[in-house]
Each structure stands twice: as structure tokens, then as C-alpha cells.
Amino acid sequence: MIPGVTYGSQLALGALGITTIYTVLRFSNFAHGEFMSFGAMFTILITWFFTDIGIKLNIIPTALLALPIAVVITIIYCLLIDKFVFKFYRQQKSKSVITLIVSIGVMFFTSGLIRFIIGPADQSFSDGERFILKAKTFKNFTGLNEGLAIKTTQGITVVMTLFLVVLLFWFLNKTKTGKSMRAFSDNEELALLSGINPERVVFITWIIAGTLACVAGTLYGLDKSYKPFTYLQLVLPIFAAAIVGGVGNPIGAIIGGFVISFSELIVTFAYKKIFFYMLPNQLVPDGLLQILSTDYKIAVSFIILVLVLLIKPTGIYKGKII
């Protein structure tokens, strides 16, 4: 249950980034996973630096202190990439497929850069208290048979996601810039006519996307551990989340993230334990009683993706059809 919420929040943050880019810049950004990885990498580097000079937060991971700086660096990187790569195609008004292939080029480049800087190895950079709630404490506290543990990173993930999502919605709905962004994504020409500066909108979009990518990447890295190649595998679940929720709809992206993560849990959950408590002993079956074996965990999101594309391509909340 709790891993589901955490993973769901991470997916939701990623999907939000993809949706934002899709609605404003009108292409599917395959490089988003690598942007996440890029952000996480800088968080790690800065965390190392901080621990070296002796700055340390006691209870929560030091990475949180490093995060704002990493966010700024990721944003700068996104803006540079946009200036040197994507801007050209935007001005050419290329087809979205071409820009998609361009984003694959960016993906290659970024992943090479990341591996070049930090190497392909596994990095763990979470420090501080490991658990908010230990399994044993929970048992003593509630008197239940099964333990429940909440890792610190899981708590941080959920809090950060809530914070960012609220901030994003406030920005999009209440501020003037946010409104101009929404107007731009609804109808580009009308927005241009009413005097909205497109470059400014694009600029802000990349800031949002960069922030979301960096935070999502760092949270994922904190929760699991940082391996450069996992982020490539994350791209598809994120796309799945964005599409399931309806591309172009921020609420949909969040819902989609949770739908994906929970269905992964439901499908690969070992139902044996439930039966164990519900049925008398003789009736408990032998196997683990999974609908699909755990190996298929990631594949579940792809299956959902394909199903949604088949049955309802607009997603749960009606987004735009690509």
C-alpha cells in the first residue's frame, strides 16, 4: 500500500512534466526520464560535496538541502537544450514526430553525459533516519499481527509531491502567467493575438518541467537507489501514467500515476496472506496466488497503456488526442 503511494507520486510528478511539455510545446518528450536522472545526479554530487564539508541534516536526508541547487542546474540545462535544439524545430513548426525523434537524440546525449560524469554504477545517497515508523513500533502501538513500516524517503516523497502539486495548480489557476500559459496551450494563435509572449511561455514551461523532473528523479533515487539506466525504464511507465490520465490534463496525470502504481500492486500482489487470514487452515492454497508473477511488475504498466490506447485513447480525463 505505502510503496504504491510513493511510486504513484513519483510517477505522477514525472507524468506532470511530460504533460506540461506536451500541452505547451506539442511533442512527446522522450528525454524526460534522462532529465530526471540528470537532476538526481546533481543532487547526489552536491550531497557528496555537503557531506564532505560537514553540512548534515540529522533526521532527514541531506539530499533535500542539495535539491534546490540541483533544481536550478536542471532548469538551466533544460533551457540550454531548448535554446540549442528544440527552438529550431519550434520555429520551423515541424511535425511532432520529428520533434519526438529529436528528443530521442537529446535522450542519448544526456544519458551519455550522465554516465560520463557519474559512471553507470549504483549510488545510494540517502542518509539520516531510515524509518519514520518501524515495523516493530507499529506492532506494539496497535497490537496488530503484521508490521507496518514507513521509510523516511516515502514520507518525504508524499509530502514533496503534495507540496509541488498544490504549488503547480495555484500557479496555473491563480497567477497571470499561469493563465497565459493555459491560454497558450488551448489556442496558440488566439493567445498570440492577445499579446502573450510565446518565448516567455516556453521559458516558464521548461522551468516547470525542469523542476518537476529534478524533484521526481531525486525522490525516485532516494527511495530506491540511483542507477542511471533505470531512468530509461521509467520513461514508459511515466508516459503510461500521462496517457492513462489523459494527455494534457494535470489532474489526469496525477490520477494516472496512482492508477498505474496501484494496478501494478494489485496484479502482482500475493493474495495468499489474505486467504491465510480469511479461510480456515486446510483451505489455504499452496502457491502465492498472484495474478501475474512479480517479474512482470513493470510490464503491467505497459499492458495498461496498451489497453487504454485501445479502449479509450483520450484517457480517463478527457485530454487532447495526439
Binding site: V85, S96, I101, V102, R115, L232, I298, L305, I322
Partner: protein, 437 residues
Amino acid sequence: MHDKKRIIFLFSCMAIMLTLVGVFQSWNVALTIFNLCLISSIMSLGINIQWGNAGIVNFGVMGFAALGGLANILISMPPTNNAWELGGFYIVVGIIIFITSIILSVLIWRKTKFNNKIKYFISAFIIIFGYFLMRYLLDPSIEVIEAIEPAKTGYLGGLNLPILISWPIGGCLAAMAAFIIGKISLGLRSDYLAIATLGISEIIIYLLKNEDWLSRGVKNVNGLPRPVPYEIELQSKEWVIEIANWLEFSLAEMSSIIVKLSYSFLFIITLICIFYLLEVALKSPWGRMMRAIRDNEISANAMGKNIKRRHLQVFIIGSAIIGIAGAMLTTLDGQFTPVSYQPLRYTFLVWIMVIVGGSGNNFGSIIGGFLIWFFWIEAEPLGLWFLSFITSNMSDTSIVKNHLLENAAHIRLMFMGLILLITLRFAPKGLIPEIKR
């Protein structure tokens, strides 16, 4: 003609580069690169007919290549003792039941006239019921099969036929998969199609990784039979010894060069056949129609062309070509390793080949396949050389220098990304642009 000169120039450049590798590194390395270049070219031909001539975005290269590899096992490995008697029957029955349930639910979906909610419910119920029935039949027999000497076999095995048959069969397998995938997803627009094919190819890889009874999963299948003689047999032959003496190569090196050359021979024949067939197809009215559909779907539709069917057709053909190439790759490796299938190496690299070479031109795809694969392999020594040149002023103990040299291998990803971006920016038509007809 300008184009012809350019083609000849590029191909001779390629030949010179391979020769340089042969002289400076070794002929063995050069031939290994050459063989993989040939396979890459075939894969990029497959993508080229889909993207360059019909405008379909297929990001499922990895899945089709893996299916081609699977054909190698199914055709040429010896069947496992009594695996078929013990469990094969139930597996076949279970899979047939599942497929029937899917077909049944699709039929109900299409033919009956209930309202949508009831339809959803019924078809979902049938599929779920079929799935559990399949699991009920399959699970025990899978366990039995996987228990037969798990260290050596533990899978159904194949038909023990010559491995060359598996190339066309691999194409057929990929074509069947492409038919299903195309039926499902070709109605989608380009971006969704890209994501859907990428997702489906991941599903295929997951199946191959985890269904041990079929492909031994992550335990890999080793020792696939070869279409060419083994090195050790060659080393005892008179004529091989004579040639080796004459060229002043060691016997071991000479024999492996001969093996690689015979592989190259097989691959070149396949490449030429596929290339010829594609050229004929694309020059014919059929090819003209494909290009018309690519350039303007609406007007082609207005002319009475069935766009969905043509797209499905070209999707199947292209995927079959990729399947053949995948089968060839596994034959060359001599083993089937599902873990080695990664989207970066297969799907996206092949796409870079097509785009750099020139989408819409078969010569372009071939040269793209050669060039990109060559640099994919050679970027590592080149990157190392480049970095040691840069860092030559630093002291040997410098952390920066050691770090740079350690990670030199990853330069190739950056390099590929840069090549793709530069091509798309400054020469979007690729090295050899599409012929204007």
C-alpha cells in the same frame, strides 16, 4: 548522376575505414564489425520501408528482433527429453483456450448489439475467465518442464532442424506479431503509435525473460547450432593450414577469419535479396501508392486507397525483415540472451541509422547501418584515444584524468545523440536523400 557518385564515395569510405581497422587493430575485429554492420543494415531496411516509405513510427524493433532470435531456439535446438509428453500438451491447450477467449470476446464486441457497458463486462469476463483457465492448465506443466534438468534444459526445446530455416521462420514470427500489434495500434496517431509499439516490445521482452519453459528466460540458451563449420574442425583441414602459412597468420586466427567470412557471405546474400525485393516493390505502383499515402493520407484516401490495410501490410513486411535480421543476429552470437535486448541498443540505434543514412532511400539505410554501427563500436577506442590526448598534460595520479579515462566508454552515447541531432538539424534528409521521382 550526383547521387550515384555520392553512394560510391560513401561506400568506399566505409570500405577504407574497415580496412584501416583491419590493419591497425586486427582482421578479426574488422570482420566482426562488418558482420554486425550487415545485420544492422537489414534492420534499418526494415524500419526504412515503414518510416521512410509509409510514415509509420515503429519503436518496436527490439521486440521483433527478439522474436526472430526465439525462432532460432524453436527451430534448431534439440527437443528436451519427454518435455513434450509431460507438459507440452497442456501448454498448447492452455494457450489455445486463452487465444479462443480473446477471439470470442472480440467477436462479441464486434457482432452483438448490447449496449456498451454490457459489452465491456462480457468481454472482460470472458478474457479473465480464459486467462485463469490457462493458468490452471499451464502452471503445473510449466513446473514439470522447468524441473527437467534445470541446469541444462528445463524448457521445451526445439525441432532440431538446420538453423538456416530459422531465419525465414523468425521473419514469420515477427510478421505474426506485427499483424496483431498492427491490428491493435495502427489506428493510433504517430506519437501514440510510437509509445504503444515501444510498450509492446517491452512486453515481448518480459515474456521471453520470464517464460522459462519457452526460452529458458534469463538462464539463456547457449550452444545454438551453426550454419558454418567450427574453428576447431577447420584447423585440421589441409587447405586452411596452407592459406594460413601463405598469409602468415596464426592457425587460430585464420580459422576464425574463415568462419566469419562465411557468415558474411550468408549475410550478404540475405541483404542483397531483401534489398532487391524492396527496390522492386518500391519502384512498382505499390511503392508509389505507399509514398502517396505517406505524403498525404487524406487525398490518397479520396483516391480510393485503403490506408489502414496498406499501413498494416507495410508494417508486417518491415517487421518481418527486422525479425529475419534478429534471427541472423542470434545465429551469429550462437546464444539467445533475453537480457541483452535493450531499447537503446536496438530500437533507438536502428532509428538513428535510418535517419542519418537518409529515410526513404534503401542505399541510405544500408550506409547508415554500416556507419552508425561502425562508430558505435569504434567510438570506444576513439573516445579513449581522444581523452588520453586531452589528459596527456595532467599527472597520472590526477583524479580527473582517471575518472575521464574510466568513463570513456560512455562517450559513444553522447556521440550518437550528437550525430542524430546534427543530422536532423543540418541535413534532415540524411546522407543519401530520397530519390526525387
